[in-house]
Symmetry: C2
Subunit: 395 residues, 2 copies
């Protein structure tokens, strides 16, 4: 591994446009185009960095586009929550001064070894004694290593996905794991994840209380505490308190538990930093009454709209003439031959929408390109930068 | 476009092994491995070619791996159902003597133009007058062009996915489209798709009767008829008649309708040719009681197990010692951080399965690698050839 002199990354800059209409004029794209709004992503990152009383790791899985990572890096995010060797390699090879943290509770042996020896990763999450044994086997353990025990949290109604259904040790097992970690001479940590798109700040406070009890029960002083992800994006159909309220709940929760003042504190936002900073420009390829056949769908950028009750704003763009003022609900059909490739729900668009029109679908910065397949030969991969206000700003 | 002398393709051959255990011994893979069984795929292709009374097109979307395409090509499949420019390019650039057919009812304008001008594609499916107008605009129409009208079929209970929910013109509109095609001097065709994984041969007979009535109503002699895909694979949990019964139903259906003897006949099998010709080798990375955390999941090769009630055989492979004879049901958790990444249902495996064991999951040749994402940095892409009997042969 050559280690280049540390300098701002070479830069994965997309072509820049003043606004989305200019993108359409310049490219008249028959393929989907991701429209990044760097200013929005950077502002979210800086807001989180200034408000969170610890280290902010970006959850790479949420949007691993090199352009998104560069925007975040330039905004001051230099710590990354990574869950696989490709994610670790992407971060460590692009940003030599950044830190990758292996925050996945289940890892392959060869992957642990490579993360440790090749990429120098020093933080590893575990939620089971056998995983702890693997990490110790493959890294050798020791005081350079921080082993973070992932704690199972109570199922909260206020979240979109309950990650504790798959990961996390119950409190008594977590306390036992902490003792084992300490006994092996490693630095100790506790982590939790309240679940995705959390709409209730008190969920963090409750999870912190559980973490505090677990740490106390273990009898081990912990060196780090990771409050995880789950910080919400502001989708139109959800009532979400401001970020300040989440930070206040975290500060209150921290005060209530007895942690050493030297404890390292981490958070892992993903969606909250990027969801509203990228829209998708699609083209209408055919209209059948109230059904529009567009060039992206559930196997491409829109899969999350199937799993989560997220409503995202849309606007029509037409180059030759003005669309009707009156709106009508339309169903969006994706481009594959598959009959499942239909976006759930309807989207209000001008009643005269027609083949050749473009639709900007907003707030698709999270879990869109990250989850795209190449099914049927379709794969959205064009990114541009735009500097206008997004459709969400109007709604 | 240079046209090289026609010869067998250069060959995308995977590394060859006698059996799956040899793969495990040689690679001890910590990553997922697709185990192709070329003899099974070739046998299915030859069976279909010998029994279907027309031209067999392979539906590329089902498994577009270059190795799978080569096996099919060498077995005699030289016609391909393609639905996007990348699929058309893949076929035409790899197999200069093969034919790509643009069988997607909704196409982008630039894509139609490129398919026609660059790749010489001559068959296009439409199911709406505006799509017909697009195809005529972009190709210029004419007697070299066959325009195939896709007919909406009745919803059949015997299929897994009802493709007519998304595509197909009702019979009266289809007849009108046929007249428009003929009036523009193009060759005419009718197509239908009964739906995926059809378990009842009579569904084809009914669809043929509908096609016959539509052709007669149109008053236009049709030049080609495409009975589509939907031919089933033989999964363990389904009662499926033999392929001969489907062919008998198609022959009977054809006899009952009045078609000119010169009509070109097509079928588009996908799943039926490849499903049982590829298994997936995964490794157990962690066990928690009855939950196994493996290195592939619903964002990789196993997504179809979420959407379809398909049961596939599994077998354990262990290099150091023998697994227990007694089986127990286990839940398979995928490798991403996502809580949805859990395979529905359970899989019976030796009760002492443990970290480091491998599991061969059979009958994943269809809609597996074709639908894989790179979510969280995981992407299964290793293919090997094996020449043993698959787990399904034992069940």
């Amino acid at each position: 591994m050559t280690q280049p002199a540390i300098s701002p990354p070479a830069g994965h800059r997309a072509h820049r446009f003043g606004d989305v209409v200019s993108v359409v004029r310049a490219l008249t794209p028959g393929y989907p185009v991701y429209c990044l709004r760097p200013a929005l992503i950077a502002a979210s990152a800086r807001r989180f960095l200034s408000q969170f009383p610890g280290t902010v790791m970006y959850a790479v899985k949420c949007n691993p586009s090199p352009m998104v990572l560069d925007i975040l890096y330039r905004a001051g995010i230099h710590h990354f929550d990574t869950a696989s060797l490709p994610e670790i390699a992407q971060i460590c090879e692009t940003y030599p001064d950044a830190q990758a943290y292996f925050m996945h509770p289940v890892k392959g042996r060869a992957v642990i070894k490579t993360a440790h020896r090749v990429y120098g990763v020093r933080y590893y999450v575990v939620d089971h004694e056998n995983e702890l044994a693997k990490v110790l086997d493959e890294t050798g353990g020791g005081p350079d290593l921080t082993i973070v025990v992932r704690l199972k949290t109570e199922r909260a109604d206020a979240v979109l996905f309950n990650l504790s259904s798959k990961f996390g040790a119950p409190p008594d097992e977590a306390a036992d794991l902490l003792r084992r970690v300490a006994a092996r001479g490693c630095r100790t940590g506790l982590a939790f994840h309240v679940g995705s798109q959390c709409s209730d700040p008190s969920v963090y406070r409750d999870a912190l209380a559980l973490a505090g009890r677990t740490a106390a029960d273990s009898g081990v002083g912990i060196d780090c505490l990771d409050v995880g992800g789950g910080f919400p994006a502001y989708y139109a159909n959800m009532q979400i308190p401001p970020l300040e309220d989440f930070m206040a709940a975290i500060r209150a929760g921290l005060k209530e538990i007895d942690l050493p003042p030297t404890v390292e504190l981490f958070a892992e936002p993903g969606r909250a930093l990027v969801a509203h900073g990228c829209s998708l420009l699609v083209q209408v390829q055919l209209r059948k009454d109230d059904r529009l056949y567009i060039n992206d769908g559930i196997y491409g950028s829109l899969s999350e709209l199937c799993h989560a009750d997220i409503r995202v704003p849309v606007r029509l763009i037409r180059l030759d003439g003005r669309p009707a003022a009156r709106l009508r609900p339309f169903v969006l059909n994706g481009p594959t031959c598959d009959s499942l490739d239909v976006v759930p729900g309807t989207f209000d668009l001008p009643e005269d929408v027609r083949e050749g029109d473009w639709i900007e679908i907003d707030q698709l910065g999270a879990y869109s390109n990250a989850m795209a397949t190449r099914f049927n030969g379709f794969y959205p991969e064009t990114f541009v930068e735009v500097h206008d206000a997004p459709p969400a700003a109007a709604s």
